[in-house]
Symmetry: C2
Subunit: 318 residues, 2 copies
Protein backbone atom coordinates (compact mmCIF):
# COMPACT_ATOMS: atom_id res chain seq x y z
CA UNK A 1 0.00 0.00 0.00
CA UNK A 2 1.06 3.58 -0.67
CA UNK A 3 2.85 5.55 2.01
CA UNK A 4 0.76 8.37 3.42
CA UNK A 5 2.40 11.42 4.92
CA UNK A 6 0.66 11.88 8.23
CA UNK A 7 2.20 14.77 10.18
CA UNK A 8 -0.82 15.14 12.45
CA UNK A 9 -1.09 11.39 13.08
CA UNK A 10 -4.75 11.26 12.05
CA UNK A 11 -4.27 8.74 9.25
CA UNK A 12 -2.78 6.28 11.74
CA UNK A 13 -5.65 6.86 14.15
CA UNK A 14 -8.26 6.22 11.47
CA UNK A 15 -6.49 3.05 10.35
CA UNK A 16 -6.20 1.77 13.90
CA UNK A 17 -9.87 2.54 14.50
CA UNK A 18 -10.93 0.54 11.45
CA UNK A 19 -8.56 -2.32 12.34
CA UNK A 20 -9.27 -2.63 16.03
CA UNK A 21 -12.57 -1.00 16.97
CA UNK A 22 -14.86 -0.75 13.98
CA UNK A 23 -17.29 -3.57 13.38
CA UNK A 24 -20.84 -4.00 12.16
CA UNK A 25 -23.57 -6.42 13.14
CA UNK A 26 -23.56 -7.93 9.66
CA UNK A 27 -20.83 -10.09 8.13
CA UNK A 28 -21.69 -9.03 4.57
CA UNK A 29 -21.11 -5.35 5.34
CA UNK A 30 -18.03 -6.04 7.39
CA UNK A 31 -16.49 -8.04 4.57
CA UNK A 32 -17.42 -5.55 1.86
CA UNK A 33 -16.05 -2.67 3.95
CA UNK A 34 -12.82 -4.43 4.88
CA UNK A 35 -12.28 -5.39 1.28
CA UNK A 36 -12.67 -1.82 0.10
CA UNK A 37 -10.46 -0.45 2.89
CA UNK A 38 -7.77 -3.03 2.17
CA UNK A 39 -7.67 -1.88 -1.48
CA UNK A 40 -5.95 1.30 -0.35
CA UNK A 41 -6.90 4.93 -0.04
CA UNK A 42 -5.66 7.85 1.99
CA UNK A 43 -8.72 8.17 4.28
CA UNK A 44 -8.84 11.85 3.39
CA UNK A 45 -12.48 12.31 4.36
CA UNK A 46 -12.19 10.99 7.93
CA UNK A 47 -8.89 12.82 8.32
CA UNK A 48 -10.70 16.02 7.41
CA UNK A 49 -13.34 15.36 10.07
CA UNK A 50 -10.70 14.77 12.73
CA UNK A 51 -8.59 17.74 11.66
CA UNK A 52 -11.66 20.00 11.61
CA UNK A 53 -12.62 18.88 15.14
CA UNK A 54 -9.05 19.39 16.27
CA UNK A 55 -8.80 22.81 14.59
CA UNK A 56 -11.89 23.81 16.62
CA UNK A 57 -9.98 22.90 19.77
CA UNK A 58 -11.53 19.52 20.53
CA UNK A 59 -9.87 16.14 20.99
CA UNK A 60 -9.88 14.36 17.63
CA UNK A 61 -10.19 10.95 19.30
CA UNK A 62 -13.70 11.90 20.46
CA UNK A 63 -14.85 11.95 16.86
CA UNK A 64 -13.48 8.73 15.39
CA UNK A 65 -16.93 7.22 14.82
CA UNK A 66 -18.17 10.30 12.99
CA UNK A 67 -14.97 10.29 10.93
CA UNK A 68 -15.44 6.62 10.12
CA UNK A 69 -18.99 7.27 8.83
CA UNK A 70 -17.54 9.75 6.32
CA UNK A 71 -15.20 7.09 4.94
CA UNK A 72 -18.03 4.55 4.90
CA UNK A 73 -20.30 6.82 2.86
CA UNK A 74 -17.43 6.97 0.38
CA UNK A 75 -17.03 3.17 0.52
CA UNK A 76 -20.76 2.64 -0.07
CA UNK A 77 -20.68 4.85 -3.16
CA UNK A 78 -17.65 2.88 -4.43
CA UNK A 79 -19.49 -0.41 -3.92
CA UNK A 80 -22.38 0.91 -5.99
CA UNK A 81 -19.99 2.32 -8.61
CA UNK A 82 -18.86 -1.26 -9.04
CA UNK A 83 -22.22 -2.46 -10.28
CA UNK A 84 -21.72 -3.66 -13.79
CA UNK A 85 -23.97 -2.33 -16.49
CA UNK A 86 -25.39 -4.78 -19.00
CA UNK A 87 -24.35 -2.45 -21.73
CA UNK A 88 -20.80 -2.08 -20.49
CA UNK A 89 -19.71 -5.40 -19.06
CA UNK A 90 -17.31 -5.76 -21.95
CA UNK A 91 -15.34 -2.90 -20.48
CA UNK A 92 -14.44 -5.07 -17.53
CA UNK A 93 -13.05 -4.05 -14.13
CA UNK A 94 -15.35 -3.89 -11.09
CA UNK A 95 -14.20 -6.14 -8.32
CA UNK A 96 -17.19 -6.36 -5.98
CA UNK A 97 -19.79 -6.86 -8.66
CA UNK A 98 -17.77 -9.46 -10.51
CA UNK A 99 -16.92 -11.44 -7.41
CA UNK A 100 -20.28 -11.23 -5.69
CA UNK A 101 -22.76 -10.29 -8.40
CA UNK A 102 -24.68 -7.11 -8.93
CA UNK A 103 -27.48 -8.08 -6.54
CA UNK A 104 -25.11 -8.41 -3.62
CA UNK A 105 -23.24 -5.21 -4.52
CA UNK A 106 -26.45 -3.20 -4.62
CA UNK A 107 -27.61 -4.77 -1.37
CA UNK A 108 -24.29 -4.27 0.40
CA UNK A 109 -24.18 -0.61 -0.59
CA UNK A 110 -27.80 -0.03 0.45
CA UNK A 111 -27.22 -1.82 3.71
CA UNK A 112 -24.14 0.25 4.41
CA UNK A 113 -25.99 3.53 3.70
CA UNK A 114 -28.87 2.42 5.94
CA UNK A 115 -26.50 1.25 8.66
CA UNK A 116 -24.64 4.58 8.63
CA UNK A 117 -27.86 6.62 8.83
CA UNK A 118 -29.25 4.34 11.53
CA UNK A 119 -26.17 5.01 13.64
CA UNK A 120 -25.90 8.70 12.81
CA UNK A 121 -29.57 9.36 13.64
CA UNK A 122 -29.13 7.46 16.91
CA UNK A 123 -25.96 9.25 18.02
CA UNK A 124 -25.82 12.75 16.50
CA UNK A 125 -28.17 15.68 16.88
CA UNK A 126 -29.44 17.90 14.12
CA UNK A 127 -28.13 19.11 11.76
CA UNK A 128 -25.58 16.29 11.27
CA UNK A 129 -28.04 13.60 10.03
CA UNK A 130 -29.53 16.12 7.62
CA UNK A 131 -26.13 17.26 6.34
CA UNK A 132 -25.15 13.67 5.61
CA UNK A 133 -28.35 12.73 3.79
CA UNK A 134 -28.27 15.99 1.80
CA UNK A 135 -24.66 15.18 0.92
CA UNK A 136 -25.61 11.76 -0.37
CA UNK A 137 -28.33 13.38 -2.48
CA UNK A 138 -25.71 15.79 -3.85
CA UNK A 139 -23.35 12.93 -4.69
CA UNK A 140 -26.10 11.13 -6.62
CA UNK A 141 -27.14 14.36 -8.33
CA UNK A 142 -23.53 14.95 -9.36
CA UNK A 143 -23.29 11.43 -10.77
CA UNK A 144 -26.47 11.93 -12.77
CA UNK A 145 -25.15 15.24 -14.11
CA UNK A 146 -21.90 13.50 -15.01
CA UNK A 147 -23.76 10.78 -16.92
CA UNK A 148 -25.61 13.51 -18.82
CA UNK A 149 -22.30 15.27 -19.56
CA UNK A 150 -20.58 12.23 -21.10
CA UNK A 151 -19.26 13.13 -24.51
CA UNK A 152 -20.54 16.74 -24.39
CA UNK A 153 -17.45 18.28 -25.95
CA UNK A 154 -18.43 21.88 -25.31
CA UNK A 155 -19.16 21.39 -21.62
CA UNK A 156 -18.51 24.74 -19.89
CA UNK A 157 -15.92 24.75 -17.11
CA UNK A 158 -18.65 26.07 -14.79
CA UNK A 159 -20.72 22.95 -15.40
CA UNK A 160 -17.69 20.78 -14.78
CA UNK A 161 -17.13 22.56 -11.45
CA UNK A 162 -20.79 22.15 -10.53
CA UNK A 163 -20.56 18.39 -11.16
CA UNK A 164 -17.28 18.09 -9.23
CA UNK A 165 -18.72 20.12 -6.37
CA UNK A 166 -21.68 17.77 -6.02
CA UNK A 167 -20.10 14.45 -6.89
CA UNK A 168 -16.83 14.84 -4.99
CA UNK A 169 -16.49 18.05 -2.99
CA UNK A 170 -19.80 17.71 -1.13
CA UNK A 171 -18.49 14.82 0.99
CA UNK A 172 -15.24 16.65 1.79
CA UNK A 173 -17.26 19.73 2.75
CA UNK A 174 -19.60 17.65 4.92
CA UNK A 175 -16.66 15.82 6.52
CA UNK A 176 -15.02 19.07 7.60
CA UNK A 177 -18.31 20.77 8.52
CA UNK A 178 -19.59 17.89 10.65
CA UNK A 179 -16.24 17.58 12.44
CA UNK A 180 -16.47 21.28 13.29
CA UNK A 181 -20.10 21.02 14.42
CA UNK A 182 -19.49 17.93 16.57
CA UNK A 183 -16.50 19.69 18.17
CA UNK A 184 -18.67 22.67 19.09
CA UNK A 185 -17.01 25.08 16.65
CA UNK A 186 -18.43 28.58 16.26
CA UNK A 187 -20.64 29.32 13.23
CA UNK A 188 -17.69 31.13 11.60
CA UNK A 189 -15.43 28.13 12.15
CA UNK A 190 -18.05 25.70 10.83
CA UNK A 191 -18.52 27.82 7.73
CA UNK A 192 -14.76 28.24 7.20
CA UNK A 193 -14.16 24.50 7.41
CA UNK A 194 -17.10 23.69 5.13
CA UNK A 195 -15.74 26.18 2.61
CA UNK A 196 -12.29 24.63 2.89
CA UNK A 197 -13.71 21.16 2.24
CA UNK A 198 -15.68 22.36 -0.76
CA UNK A 199 -12.69 24.06 -2.41
CA UNK A 200 -10.33 21.24 -1.49
CA UNK A 201 -12.77 18.74 -2.99
CA UNK A 202 -12.94 20.56 -6.32
CA UNK A 203 -9.13 20.69 -6.47
CA UNK A 204 -9.07 17.00 -5.51
CA UNK A 205 -11.33 16.04 -8.42
CA UNK A 206 -9.25 18.11 -10.82
CA UNK A 207 -6.10 16.38 -9.57
CA UNK A 208 -7.78 13.01 -10.03
CA UNK A 209 -8.59 13.98 -13.62
CA UNK A 210 -5.01 15.14 -14.16
CA UNK A 211 -3.57 11.85 -12.88
CA UNK A 212 -5.75 9.98 -15.38
CA UNK A 213 -3.66 11.48 -18.20
CA UNK A 214 -0.27 11.80 -16.49
CA UNK A 215 0.24 8.99 -13.96
CA UNK A 216 1.59 5.52 -14.36
CA UNK A 217 -1.16 2.94 -14.67
CA UNK A 218 0.38 1.11 -11.70
CA UNK A 219 0.34 4.22 -9.50
CA UNK A 220 -3.36 4.99 -9.94
CA UNK A 221 -4.57 1.41 -10.17
CA UNK A 222 -6.36 1.85 -13.48
CA UNK A 223 -5.35 2.30 -17.12
CA UNK A 224 -4.09 5.73 -18.19
CA UNK A 225 -6.81 7.52 -20.11
CA UNK A 226 -9.55 5.48 -18.43
CA UNK A 227 -11.73 8.57 -18.02
CA UNK A 228 -11.39 9.32 -21.73
CA UNK A 229 -12.25 5.72 -22.48
CA UNK A 230 -15.49 6.28 -20.56
CA UNK A 231 -16.13 9.49 -22.54
CA UNK A 232 -15.93 11.61 -19.41
CA UNK A 233 -15.40 15.33 -19.79
CA UNK A 234 -12.37 15.79 -17.51
CA UNK A 235 -10.86 19.17 -16.77
CA UNK A 236 -7.65 18.57 -18.80
CA UNK A 237 -9.78 17.60 -21.80
CA UNK A 238 -12.14 20.57 -21.41
CA UNK A 239 -9.22 22.99 -21.13
CA UNK A 240 -7.45 21.31 -24.05
CA UNK A 241 -10.53 21.66 -26.26
CA UNK A 242 -10.79 25.25 -25.06
CA UNK A 243 -7.49 26.08 -26.77
CA UNK A 244 -9.25 25.63 -30.12
CA UNK A 245 -6.72 23.09 -31.41
CA UNK A 246 -8.41 21.62 -34.49
CA UNK A 247 -6.43 18.37 -34.65
CA UNK A 248 -7.31 17.50 -31.06
CA UNK A 249 -10.95 18.42 -31.57
CA UNK A 250 -11.23 16.18 -34.64
CA UNK A 251 -9.60 13.27 -32.84
CA UNK A 252 -11.85 13.62 -29.80
CA UNK A 253 -14.96 13.87 -31.98
CA UNK A 254 -14.00 10.69 -33.76
CA UNK A 255 -13.28 8.80 -30.57
CA UNK A 256 -16.24 10.05 -28.56
CA UNK A 257 -18.55 9.23 -31.46
CA UNK A 258 -17.39 5.63 -31.16
CA UNK A 259 -15.53 5.62 -34.48
CA UNK A 260 -12.04 5.40 -32.97
CA UNK A 261 -9.94 2.72 -31.29
CA UNK A 262 -7.72 2.34 -28.25
CA UNK A 263 -4.78 3.96 -30.06
CA UNK A 264 -6.79 7.20 -30.15
CA UNK A 265 -6.80 7.39 -26.36
CA UNK A 266 -3.00 7.54 -26.31
CA UNK A 267 -3.05 10.15 -29.09
CA UNK A 268 -5.59 12.30 -27.21
CA UNK A 269 -3.51 12.04 -24.03
CA UNK A 270 -0.48 13.25 -26.02
CA UNK A 271 -2.52 16.06 -27.61
CA UNK A 272 -3.72 17.27 -24.19
CA UNK A 273 -0.07 17.68 -23.18
CA UNK A 274 0.90 19.21 -26.54
CA UNK A 275 -1.65 22.03 -26.35
CA UNK A 276 -0.54 22.93 -22.82
CA UNK A 277 -3.65 21.75 -21.00
CA UNK A 278 -1.69 19.92 -18.30
CA UNK A 279 -0.26 23.21 -17.10
CA UNK A 280 -3.63 24.91 -17.45
CA UNK A 281 -5.07 22.18 -15.22
CA UNK A 282 -2.26 22.56 -12.71
CA UNK A 283 -3.04 26.27 -12.60
CA UNK A 284 -6.68 25.60 -11.79
CA UNK A 285 -5.74 23.11 -9.08
CA UNK A 286 -3.28 25.59 -7.53
CA UNK A 287 -6.00 28.23 -7.59
CA UNK A 288 -8.57 26.09 -5.77
CA UNK A 289 -5.94 24.84 -3.31
CA UNK A 290 -4.94 28.44 -2.52
CA UNK A 291 -8.60 29.39 -2.06
CA UNK A 292 -9.08 26.40 0.25
CA UNK A 293 -6.19 27.56 2.40
CA UNK A 294 -7.48 31.13 2.39
CA UNK A 295 -10.87 29.89 3.61
CA UNK A 296 -9.14 28.79 6.82
CA UNK A 297 -8.35 32.41 7.76
CA UNK A 298 -10.95 32.52 10.58
CA UNK A 299 -9.27 29.55 12.29
CA UNK A 300 -6.64 30.22 14.95
CA UNK A 301 -3.19 28.70 14.52
CA UNK A 302 -3.02 24.99 15.36
CA UNK A 303 -1.26 21.85 14.26
CA UNK A 304 -4.54 20.71 12.66
CA UNK A 305 -4.85 23.92 10.64
CA UNK A 306 -1.26 23.51 9.45
CA UNK A 307 -2.03 19.94 8.38
CA UNK A 308 -5.15 21.07 6.47
CA UNK A 309 -3.01 23.65 4.68
CA UNK A 310 -0.44 20.99 3.90
CA UNK A 311 -3.13 18.70 2.41
CA UNK A 312 -4.19 21.52 0.07
CA UNK A 313 -0.55 22.19 -0.86
CA UNK A 314 -0.08 18.51 -1.62
CA UNK A 315 -2.78 18.68 -4.32
CA UNK A 316 -1.04 21.62 -5.96
CA UNK A 317 2.41 19.95 -5.80
CA UNK A 318 3.18 17.62 -8.66
Amino acid sequence: METVRDDAGVYARVERFFDETFSTDNPLITEAVKRMLAAGGKRLRPRMTLLAASACGDDADEHLYLAAYMELIHVATLIHDDVVDNASTRRGVNATAIDYGNRVSVLAGDYLFAWIFKNVTANYDAPIPHILSATLADICDGEVLQLRSLGVLDLPVETYVDVARKKTASLFAASAECGAIAAGGSPDQVEALREYGDLYGIAFQMKDDLLDVTADAAAIGKPVGNDLHERKMTIPLILALGTGDAALRARVETYYDGRGGDADVAAIVADIARVGALDLTRGRIADYAARAKAALAPMGASGAKTELERLADALAAD
Copy 2:
Protein backbone atom coordinates in the same frame (compact mmCIF):
# COMPACT_ATOMS: atom_id res chain seq x y z
CA MET B 1 -55.24 -0.73 -13.05
CA GLU B 2 -56.81 -2.89 -10.38
CA THR B 3 -59.75 -1.59 -8.39
CA VAL B 4 -58.86 -0.87 -4.78
CA ARG B 5 -61.54 -0.99 -2.11
CA ASP B 6 -61.10 2.22 -0.20
CA ASP B 7 -63.77 2.61 2.47
CA ALA B 8 -61.81 5.22 4.40
CA GLY B 9 -60.91 7.20 1.27
CA VAL B 10 -57.18 7.12 2.02
CA TYR B 11 -56.16 5.41 -1.21
CA ALA B 12 -57.79 8.21 -3.20
CA ARG B 13 -56.05 10.82 -1.09
CA VAL B 14 -52.63 9.20 -1.60
CA GLU B 15 -53.20 8.95 -5.35
CA ARG B 16 -54.31 12.56 -5.59
CA PHE B 17 -51.28 13.64 -3.57
CA PHE B 18 -48.90 11.83 -5.91
CA ASP B 19 -50.72 13.14 -8.99
CA GLU B 20 -51.16 16.76 -8.00
CA THR B 21 -48.78 17.76 -5.20
CA PHE B 22 -45.77 15.47 -5.11
CA SER B 23 -42.72 16.49 -7.07
CA THR B 24 -38.95 16.33 -6.68
CA ASP B 25 -36.22 18.70 -7.74
CA ASN B 26 -34.77 16.07 -10.08
CA PRO B 27 -36.32 14.83 -13.34
CA LEU B 28 -34.64 11.42 -13.09
CA ILE B 29 -36.25 10.67 -9.74
CA THR B 30 -39.57 12.08 -10.76
CA GLU B 31 -39.64 9.90 -13.85
CA ALA B 32 -38.48 6.77 -12.04
CA VAL B 33 -41.06 7.31 -9.31
CA LYS B 34 -43.93 8.06 -11.67
CA ARG B 35 -43.07 5.03 -13.73
CA MET B 36 -43.13 2.78 -10.68
CA LEU B 37 -46.36 4.32 -9.37
CA ALA B 38 -48.03 3.99 -12.77
CA ALA B 39 -47.25 0.26 -12.78
CA GLY B 40 -49.90 -0.23 -10.12
CA GLY B 41 -49.94 -1.06 -6.45
CA LYS B 42 -52.37 -0.56 -3.64
CA ARG B 43 -50.36 2.07 -1.72
CA LEU B 44 -50.79 -0.03 1.40
CA ARG B 45 -47.84 1.50 3.24
CA PRO B 46 -48.95 5.14 2.96
CA ARG B 47 -52.52 4.11 3.67
CA MET B 48 -51.29 2.53 6.88
CA THR B 49 -49.55 5.77 7.89
CA LEU B 50 -52.70 7.80 7.26
CA LEU B 51 -54.97 5.29 8.98
CA ALA B 52 -52.64 5.12 11.99
CA ALA B 53 -52.62 8.93 12.28
CA SER B 54 -56.37 8.97 11.93
CA ALA B 55 -56.84 6.17 14.46
CA CYS B 56 -54.86 8.34 16.91
CA GLY B 57 -57.42 11.10 16.40
CA ASP B 58 -55.47 13.34 14.02
CA ASP B 59 -56.40 14.62 10.57
CA ALA B 60 -54.91 12.20 8.03
CA ASP B 61 -54.39 15.00 5.51
CA GLU B 62 -51.75 16.52 7.80
CA HIS B 63 -49.54 13.48 7.19
CA LEU B 64 -49.62 13.00 3.43
CA TYR B 65 -45.92 13.80 2.99
CA LEU B 66 -44.90 11.31 5.66
CA ALA B 67 -47.18 8.73 4.06
CA ALA B 68 -45.66 9.42 0.65
CA TYR B 69 -42.14 8.81 2.00
CA MET B 70 -43.23 5.32 3.08
CA GLU B 71 -44.35 4.50 -0.46
CA LEU B 72 -41.16 6.02 -1.86
CA ILE B 73 -38.93 3.85 0.34
CA HIS B 74 -40.82 0.91 -1.14
CA VAL B 75 -40.38 2.31 -4.66
CA ALA B 76 -36.63 2.81 -4.12
CA THR B 77 -36.23 -0.80 -3.01
CA LEU B 78 -38.18 -1.93 -6.12
CA ILE B 79 -35.90 0.13 -8.37
CA HIS B 80 -32.88 -1.59 -6.82
CA ASP B 81 -34.56 -4.99 -7.05
CA ASP B 82 -34.65 -4.36 -10.78
CA VAL B 83 -30.89 -4.31 -11.13
CA VAL B 84 -29.96 -7.17 -13.36
CA ASP B 85 -27.31 -9.57 -12.22
CA ASN B 86 -24.65 -10.65 -14.68
CA ALA B 87 -25.27 -14.19 -13.62
CA SER B 88 -29.02 -14.02 -14.09
CA THR B 89 -29.73 -11.78 -17.04
CA ARG B 90 -30.90 -14.83 -18.94
CA ARG B 91 -33.84 -15.03 -16.58
CA GLY B 92 -35.11 -11.76 -17.97
CA VAL B 93 -37.71 -9.30 -16.60
CA ASN B 94 -36.66 -6.07 -14.84
CA ALA B 95 -38.09 -3.01 -16.48
CA THR B 96 -36.04 -0.13 -15.08
CA ALA B 97 -32.66 -1.78 -15.44
CA ILE B 98 -33.32 -3.00 -18.96
CA ASP B 99 -34.67 0.33 -20.16
CA TYR B 100 -32.15 2.58 -18.43
CA GLY B 101 -29.21 0.35 -17.56
CA ASN B 102 -28.00 -0.84 -14.20
CA ARG B 103 -25.96 2.30 -13.51
CA VAL B 104 -29.00 4.52 -13.75
CA SER B 105 -31.15 2.14 -11.71
CA VAL B 106 -28.63 2.05 -8.88
CA LEU B 107 -28.24 5.82 -9.03
CA ALA B 108 -31.97 6.49 -9.14
CA GLY B 109 -32.58 4.27 -6.12
CA ASP B 110 -29.70 5.81 -4.17
CA TYR B 111 -30.87 9.28 -5.05
CA LEU B 112 -34.39 8.48 -3.95
CA PHE B 113 -33.20 7.07 -0.60
CA ALA B 114 -31.02 10.14 -0.05
CA TRP B 115 -33.79 12.51 -1.11
CA ILE B 116 -36.24 10.86 1.29
CA PHE B 117 -33.81 11.04 4.23
CA LYS B 118 -32.87 14.62 3.37
CA ASN B 119 -36.53 15.59 3.58
CA VAL B 120 -37.35 13.45 6.61
CA THR B 121 -34.38 14.79 8.62
CA ALA B 122 -35.39 18.34 7.68
CA ASN B 123 -39.06 17.98 8.58
CA TYR B 124 -39.51 15.33 11.27
CA ASP B 125 -38.13 15.14 14.78
CA ALA B 126 -36.58 12.12 16.44
CA PRO B 127 -37.31 9.25 16.44
CA ILE B 128 -38.87 9.25 12.94
CA PRO B 129 -35.61 9.64 10.94
CA HIS B 130 -34.03 6.89 13.01
CA ILE B 131 -37.01 4.55 12.61
CA LEU B 132 -36.88 4.96 8.84
CA SER B 133 -33.14 4.37 8.51
CA ALA B 134 -33.31 1.38 10.87
CA THR B 135 -36.18 0.07 8.74
CA LEU B 136 -34.13 0.35 5.58
CA ALA B 137 -31.32 -1.55 7.32
CA ASP B 138 -33.85 -4.25 8.29
CA ILE B 139 -35.11 -4.50 4.71
CA CYS B 140 -31.56 -4.99 3.42
CA ASP B 141 -30.79 -7.46 6.18
CA GLY B 142 -33.92 -9.42 5.27
CA GLU B 143 -32.90 -9.48 1.61
CA VAL B 144 -29.45 -10.76 2.52
CA LEU B 145 -31.00 -13.47 4.71
CA GLN B 146 -33.31 -14.38 1.85
CA LEU B 147 -30.38 -14.72 -0.55
CA ARG B 148 -28.71 -17.00 1.97
CA SER B 149 -31.90 -19.06 2.29
CA LEU B 150 -32.33 -19.73 -1.42
CA GLY B 151 -32.68 -23.44 -1.99
CA VAL B 152 -32.34 -24.34 1.70
CA LEU B 153 -35.04 -27.00 1.69
CA ASP B 154 -35.14 -27.51 5.44
CA LEU B 155 -35.53 -23.82 6.27
CA PRO B 156 -37.43 -23.60 9.58
CA VAL B 157 -40.70 -21.68 9.56
CA GLU B 158 -39.20 -19.43 12.25
CA THR B 159 -36.39 -18.40 9.91
CA TYR B 160 -38.92 -17.73 7.16
CA VAL B 161 -40.88 -15.49 9.54
CA ASP B 162 -37.70 -13.68 10.58
CA VAL B 163 -36.88 -12.94 6.93
CA ALA B 164 -40.43 -11.82 6.15
CA ARG B 165 -40.47 -9.64 9.25
CA LYS B 166 -37.32 -7.82 8.17
CA LYS B 167 -37.76 -7.76 4.43
CA THR B 168 -41.45 -6.92 4.27
CA ALA B 169 -43.12 -6.34 7.64
CA SER B 170 -40.58 -3.78 8.90
CA LEU B 171 -41.81 -1.13 6.47
CA PHE B 172 -45.47 -1.79 7.31
CA ALA B 173 -44.60 -1.58 11.01
CA ALA B 174 -42.68 1.68 10.49
CA SER B 175 -45.48 3.12 8.34
CA ALA B 176 -48.06 2.56 11.08
CA GLU B 177 -45.69 3.52 13.91
CA CYS B 178 -44.54 6.78 12.32
CA GLY B 179 -48.12 7.76 11.48
CA ALA B 180 -49.02 7.25 15.14
CA ILE B 181 -45.97 9.18 16.38
CA ALA B 182 -46.52 12.09 13.99
CA ALA B 183 -50.16 12.25 15.09
CA GLY B 184 -49.13 12.49 18.73
CA GLY B 185 -50.44 9.07 19.69
CA SER B 186 -49.79 7.74 23.20
CA PRO B 187 -46.96 5.23 23.72
CA ASP B 188 -49.58 2.45 23.96
CA GLN B 189 -51.16 3.51 20.68
CA VAL B 190 -47.79 3.80 18.95
CA GLU B 191 -46.84 0.33 20.15
CA ALA B 192 -50.23 -1.14 19.18
CA LEU B 193 -50.01 0.25 15.66
CA ARG B 194 -46.41 -0.86 15.22
CA GLU B 195 -47.41 -4.36 16.34
CA TYR B 196 -50.34 -4.30 13.92
CA GLY B 197 -48.04 -3.32 11.04
CA ASP B 198 -45.54 -6.03 11.91
CA LEU B 199 -48.15 -8.82 12.03
CA TYR B 200 -49.98 -7.47 8.99
CA GLY B 201 -46.71 -7.41 7.07
CA ILE B 202 -45.91 -11.04 7.84
CA ALA B 203 -49.40 -12.08 6.71
CA PHE B 204 -48.93 -9.89 3.62
CA GLN B 205 -45.72 -11.69 2.65
CA MET B 206 -47.35 -15.09 3.19
CA LYS B 207 -50.26 -14.02 0.98
CA ASP B 208 -47.81 -12.85 -1.67
CA ASP B 209 -46.15 -16.27 -1.55
CA LEU B 210 -49.54 -17.99 -1.79
CA LEU B 211 -50.53 -15.96 -4.85
CA ASP B 212 -47.32 -17.07 -6.56
CA VAL B 213 -48.68 -20.63 -6.66
CA THR B 214 -52.42 -19.95 -6.98
CA ALA B 215 -53.07 -16.76 -8.95
CA ASP B 216 -53.42 -16.14 -12.64
CA ALA B 217 -50.21 -14.87 -14.18
CA ALA B 218 -52.15 -11.87 -15.51
CA ALA B 219 -53.50 -10.99 -12.06
CA ILE B 220 -50.11 -10.84 -10.33
CA GLY B 221 -48.09 -9.49 -13.25
CA LYS B 222 -45.51 -12.27 -13.18
CA PRO B 223 -45.42 -15.95 -14.14
CA VAL B 224 -47.01 -18.45 -11.73
CA GLY B 225 -44.28 -20.22 -9.79
CA ASN B 226 -41.84 -17.36 -10.30
CA ASP B 227 -40.65 -17.61 -6.69
CA LEU B 228 -39.95 -21.33 -7.17
CA HIS B 229 -38.12 -20.53 -10.35
CA GLU B 230 -35.85 -18.27 -8.29
CA ARG B 231 -35.36 -21.07 -5.72
CA LYS B 232 -37.01 -19.02 -2.99
CA MET B 233 -38.22 -20.82 0.10
CA THR B 234 -41.83 -19.62 0.20
CA ILE B 235 -44.22 -20.48 2.99
CA PRO B 236 -46.40 -22.82 0.85
CA LEU B 237 -43.28 -24.73 -0.19
CA ILE B 238 -41.89 -24.91 3.36
CA LEU B 239 -45.23 -26.17 4.71
CA ALA B 240 -45.56 -28.61 1.79
CA LEU B 241 -42.09 -30.04 2.46
CA GLY B 242 -43.04 -30.19 6.14
CA THR B 243 -45.73 -32.78 5.36
CA GLY B 244 -42.94 -35.25 4.57
CA ASP B 245 -44.31 -36.10 1.12
CA ALA B 246 -41.46 -37.98 -0.54
CA ALA B 247 -42.50 -37.41 -4.17
CA LEU B 248 -42.63 -33.64 -3.67
CA ARG B 249 -39.32 -33.62 -1.84
CA ALA B 250 -37.58 -35.53 -4.63
CA ARG B 251 -39.00 -33.23 -7.29
CA VAL B 252 -37.97 -30.09 -5.39
CA GLU B 253 -34.47 -31.46 -4.79
CA THR B 254 -34.06 -32.15 -8.47
CA TYR B 255 -35.31 -28.73 -9.52
CA TYR B 256 -33.49 -26.70 -6.89
CA ASP B 257 -30.26 -28.53 -7.72
CA GLY B 258 -30.62 -27.22 -11.26
CA ARG B 259 -31.28 -30.63 -12.80
CA GLY B 260 -34.94 -29.96 -13.68
CA GLY B 261 -36.81 -27.96 -16.29
CA ASP B 262 -39.72 -25.55 -16.48
CA ALA B 263 -42.22 -28.43 -16.45
CA ASP B 264 -41.06 -29.24 -12.92
CA VAL B 265 -42.29 -25.86 -11.69
CA ALA B 266 -45.85 -26.72 -12.74
CA ALA B 267 -45.50 -30.15 -11.12
CA ILE B 268 -44.25 -28.65 -7.85
CA VAL B 269 -47.11 -26.14 -7.85
CA ALA B 270 -49.53 -29.06 -8.28
CA ASP B 271 -47.79 -31.05 -5.51
CA ILE B 272 -48.03 -28.13 -3.09
CA ALA B 273 -51.80 -28.16 -3.58
CA ARG B 274 -51.99 -31.98 -3.46
CA VAL B 275 -50.33 -32.24 -0.03
CA GLY B 276 -52.67 -29.61 1.42
CA ALA B 277 -50.11 -26.86 1.84
CA LEU B 278 -52.35 -24.18 0.32
CA ASP B 279 -54.80 -24.61 3.20
CA LEU B 280 -51.97 -24.79 5.71
CA THR B 281 -50.72 -21.47 4.32
CA ARG B 282 -54.20 -19.94 4.48
CA GLY B 283 -54.34 -21.00 8.12
CA ARG B 284 -51.08 -19.20 8.89
CA ILE B 285 -52.25 -16.07 7.11
CA ALA B 286 -55.55 -16.10 8.99
CA ASP B 287 -53.63 -16.50 12.24
CA TYR B 288 -51.35 -13.51 11.62
CA ALA B 289 -54.27 -11.42 10.35
CA ALA B 290 -56.24 -12.22 13.52
CA ARG B 291 -53.25 -11.32 15.67
CA ALA B 292 -52.83 -8.05 13.75
CA LYS B 293 -56.47 -7.16 14.50
CA ALA B 294 -56.06 -8.17 18.14
CA ALA B 295 -53.05 -5.86 18.43
CA LEU B 296 -55.41 -2.94 17.80
CA ALA B 297 -57.25 -3.57 21.09
CA PRO B 298 -55.78 -0.48 22.80
CA MET B 299 -57.18 1.77 20.05
CA GLY B 300 -60.60 3.36 20.57
CA ALA B 301 -63.32 2.74 17.99
CA SER B 302 -62.90 4.81 14.82
CA GLY B 303 -63.46 4.53 11.10
CA ALA B 304 -59.70 4.24 10.67
CA LYS B 305 -59.49 1.32 13.10
CA THR B 306 -62.32 -0.42 11.25
CA GLU B 307 -60.47 0.06 7.97
CA LEU B 308 -57.24 -1.36 9.43
CA GLU B 309 -59.23 -4.40 10.60
CA ARG B 310 -60.76 -4.74 7.13
CA LEU B 311 -57.31 -4.65 5.51
CA ALA B 312 -56.21 -7.55 7.73
CA ASP B 313 -59.42 -9.45 6.92
CA ALA B 314 -58.79 -8.91 3.22
CA LEU B 315 -55.48 -10.82 3.49
CA ALA B 316 -57.23 -13.75 5.13
CA ALA B 317 -60.07 -13.79 2.57
CA ASP B 318 -59.35 -15.74 -0.57
